[in-house]
């Protein structure tokens, strides 16, 4: 039972930085806490690279895209970078169809990104907003939170269309 609990805890810990809940604090003993905050129990998130499937969070018609190239960065794309992607799943009557090659801006990434004040931001999923080659968004609204990093990267248009800014 203890092992089952530990595995559940480690899964949650992976998602949630290992620190949650009054319930957990009551139930856990000291040894558990130390092992679960151990880097071995936390998932190491990495860049968005070729074959990464991302969610599309605007109303352009696509649902999922797969990255085929990160335009900047040798290891891959991060939050705020542009990628080239292929549409894998789309809504039946949307502006983009399945199989189309599109550009996208990463608006949520599971990998943490440092901010200038020393804090880091990370999200639970990888999400992208489709743009055209000139950087104009293809959709008209962006759903979910978008981080502030986009302003520095000159994606203010996406910020204006976003419903919530992190």
């Amino acid at each position: 039972m203890a092992s089952g609990f530990a595995s559940k805890w480690s899964k949650v810990g992976r998602q949630l930085l290992g620190g949650l809940g009054n319930n957990f604090s009551g139930l856990l003993s000291t040894s558990h806490e130390i092992t679960c905050s151990n880097p071995l129990f936390q998932q190491q998130r990495t860049f968005i690279q070729m074959r990464t499937v991302l969610k599309v969070v605007d109303n352009s018609g696509a649902k999922k895209v797969m990255c085929i190239q990160a335009l900047k960065g040798k290891k891959g794309a991060r939050l705020g970078d542009t990628i080239v992607a292929s549409v894998k799943e789309a809504h039946p009557n949307g502006k983009v169809k399945k199989g189309k090659v599109v550009y996208g801006v990463v608006v949520r990434a599971a990998m943490q990104r440092g901010r200038c004040d020393g804090s880091e931001v990370k999200f639970d999923d990888n999400a992208v907003v489709l743009v055209d080659k000139q950087g104009q968004p293809i959709g008209t609204r962006v759903f979910g939170p978008v981080p502030h990093e986009l302003r520095k990267k000159k994606h203010v248009k996406i910020l204006t269309l976003a419903e919530h800014i992190a």
């Binding site: 620190g19 000291t30 949520r108 943490q112 880091e120 759903f143 939170p145 269309l161």
Partner: protein
């Protein structure tokens, strides 16, 4: 490092000495001790509510933590329910010593200064709108979006009828801003069907007529108060 320290605090039943472990903790961590997250839970550490989406996570910065250690200890008290007797006494002591001060944001200016800044930005925005109307831009709207959006104060939305006109409006606005106010915009350098100039607290959007209808920013920011412009507005569609 901060993560392990945070966790050991939760196990206070073991009787860990508190004073040593207080210092690294920061403001953000108090919110970690909320109920265990269920799927589609709506609250997040920033207090924002996302109906559909999962939370975002911010790791506290070590630099800030040390300077706010006193305040952070008090904030921790409010976040937790099942603390042991030792910590209660400890918090009571601190409260008696420092008073019931909860964290106060140091970067927020007082009301009067805010209003002055708003007035400055307003005059800047109206001037830019004036310049746009001189170049015969149509349907200029200035919206006060500060209550809706925290990253800027004013939006100027305008329509131009051709790319050279967009270029002209853009360059006139840039020149005026640089000469009179010394502000340089970050934004599109090449004219686009939606050209954007970002002056920090004022953002200028220049559309071509079909794009204006397509993106429909007025509908998206319908709750923003429009600002009256002192000159006559040209009708949106020419000819």
């Amino acid at each position: 490092m901060a993560v392990s320290t945070m966790l050991s605090i939760t196990g206070t039943g073991a009787g860990n000495p508190f004073t040593g472990e207080f210092r690294p903790l920061g403001l953000f961590e108090s919110k970690f001790y909320e109920r265990p997250r269920k799927p589609y839970s709506s609250s997040c550490m920033n207090g924002h509510h996302f109906p559909r989406h999962k939370c975002i996570w911010r790791l506290p910065s070590n630099r800030n933590l040390n300077s706010k250690s006193k305040d952070s200890s008090l904030v921790l008290a409010t976040g937790k329910e099942n603390v042991s007797e030792d910590t209660d006494d400890m918090y009571d002591e601190l409260f008696n010593k420092y008073g019931k001060v909860v964290f106060r944001r140091k970067d927020q200016k007082p009301q009067s200064a805010e209003v002055d800044d708003d007035a400055e930005s307003l005059s800047f925005a109206v001037e830019l709108a004036n310049v746009a109307s001189q170049v015969k831009a149509a349907d200029i709207k200035v919206l006060f979006v500060k209550p809706l959006v925290y990253w800027t104060r004013f939006f100027i939305i305008t329509t131009a009828f051709s790319r050279p006109q967009i270029d002209a409006i853009g360059s006139k606005i840039r020149d005026l801003a640089e000469k009179k106010y010394g502000r340089v915009p970050s934004g599109d350098t090449k004219p686009n069907s939606w050209t954007l100039l970002d002056f920090g607290d004022v953002v200028v959007h220049i559309f071509l007529p079909p794009q204006r209808a397509f993106y429909n920013l007025e509908e998206f920011y319908a709750n923003a108060t429009p600002i009256e412009l002192p000159f006559e507005n040209q009708p949106p569609f020419r000819g």
